[in-house]
Symmetry: C2
DNA sequence: GGTTTTTTGTCGTTTAGTCGACACTTCCTA
DNA sequence: TAGGAAGTGTCGACTAAACGACAAAAAACC
């Protein structure tokens, strides 16, 4: 469960929805201009055409806003990535991995250093949402009933957790390399290390030319705000 | 004086400013999709992520909103057009005329028919703001004092009014033609008809290659909203 | 023609956002 | 190192926006 540290307001109220949208948009704009550390709450509020007090009515501090924003993006993008595949397969797991790689790469490219706080936050969110999305997938899998009852074999929770860590770990290792190999070359290489534990749930891989695609047909920057996309496309 | 039919609210309040901006943006978006007649107040409010009641707290109806929007654009664009010229000259008057032509042309191109109400509204606003901007220019002209005191000669008000009508009339006549000649060809042709009455105030025309430019260096679509620009650039 | 259906305006009431002010921390520089 | 500037976080009083509901006008439909 995600604790998005929001104050007690009716999250259905259009004013609340609009205000959060304005704050998120403002943050994204500013992130295209300077490092997250250098951004102040006052700046965010001003850019959002909102009062500073209103910011605090919604988020504890700028870190809570960043988490709220990143979490939403990661979640919806991961879900969209899986939605493009009819069921769990090597392809869909590969798509997840490619998505995480591109996410890390883009974060590095768009957000001016220092990225102190962001690093840990992204790790936390990515693992969390990969876990949730995988768990959901496994629990709705045809093989779920038979697997879950067999004593001694790993639970779906365990399987999802280990796989989530494996996916993030792989992507992280790749992102840390000095001279990275291309994503399209890297991901198929490590894929077996990830899918091994999923074997009971996996459809055999299709032969279509799908593997190279990143984030299931969406460009890597789909997960970034408009201004970041803008900054990116001209960098 | 412009009667922008606004309800009694503090126009300085950031919430008010933001709300009006949202309404204007929503209207512009919708105008890129359908005719003004086909747009409802509910649609505008929904698109602006505002309650319908809030719309009525700011504008009497959709026509008041359109007037508010067009008026602001016409005014700022006209002002900017003149601001690019150091003082009143044939060039600046020519720029005004070219601006009005391009305004009429773009309105026709971007706004799906029928344009019943818009026609009259644009005429009213254009004439009004041309008058205001010209009057301001004449009153600050070095020759103002001597002219204004000479009995029997036209007042600056009279001069501004006649010139405003002449400029709009010329542009309108051009826009009504079945097969229009290019603006760059038309405007120099009629310019003498307009500047005749301004002779006492005018600097001689420069020889620079300025005449062709429209709206003082801005593209014609500078006066249109983002979505309209978008729709335009791909039409 | 008459009858649904949609859109328009306008009410109170409730809730979110703004404002000014305050005490506090942090950082910078004289 | 003292002190000024800038950022943070919170308070209570005021104002704008949301909501549901209503009647009445317009449009759409048969």
């Amino acid at each position: 469960m995600l604790i998005t540290q929001e104050k007690t307001k009716n999250p259905e109220d259009p004013r609340v929805v609009r205000t959060r949208r304005l704050l998120v948009d403002a943050l994204n704009e500013l992130m295209g201009e300077k490092s997250f550390d250098a951004i102040t709450v006052s700046e965010i509020a001003t850019r959002a055409t909102l009062n500073r007090v209103t910011f605090y009515a919604h988020f504890q501090d700028k870190y809570a806003l960043l988490e709220y924003d990143l979490s939403n993006r990661v979640q919806s993008q991961l879900q969209a990535t899986l939605d493009d595949h009819p069921q769990l397969s090597e392809d869909s797991v590969h798509a997840l991995l490619a998505f995480v790689c591109s996410f890390l790469e883009n974060a590095e490219r768009h957000c001016p250093p220092p990225r102190g706080q962001m690093q840990g936050l992204m790790e936390k969110l990515l693992k969390q949402h990969i876990y949730e999305v995988l768990l959901d997938e496994l629990q709705h899998h045809p093989a779920y009933k038979t697997k879950s009852n067999k004593a001694g074999s790993p639970s779906v929770q365990q399987t999802a957790m280990v796989t989530a860590w494996a996916i993030y770990g792989a992507a992280f290792q790749w992102s840390q390399q000095d001279k990275r190999q291309p994503v399209a070359q890297f991901t198929p290489e490590v894929l077996p290390l990830i899918t091994a534990n999923l074997a009971p749930y996996l459809e055999p891989r299709t032969n279509k030319a799908a593997p190279q695609r990143v984030a299931a047909g969406r460009g890597p920057s789909a997960l970034l705000g408009a201004s970041l996309r803008f900054a990116f496309s001209f960098s």
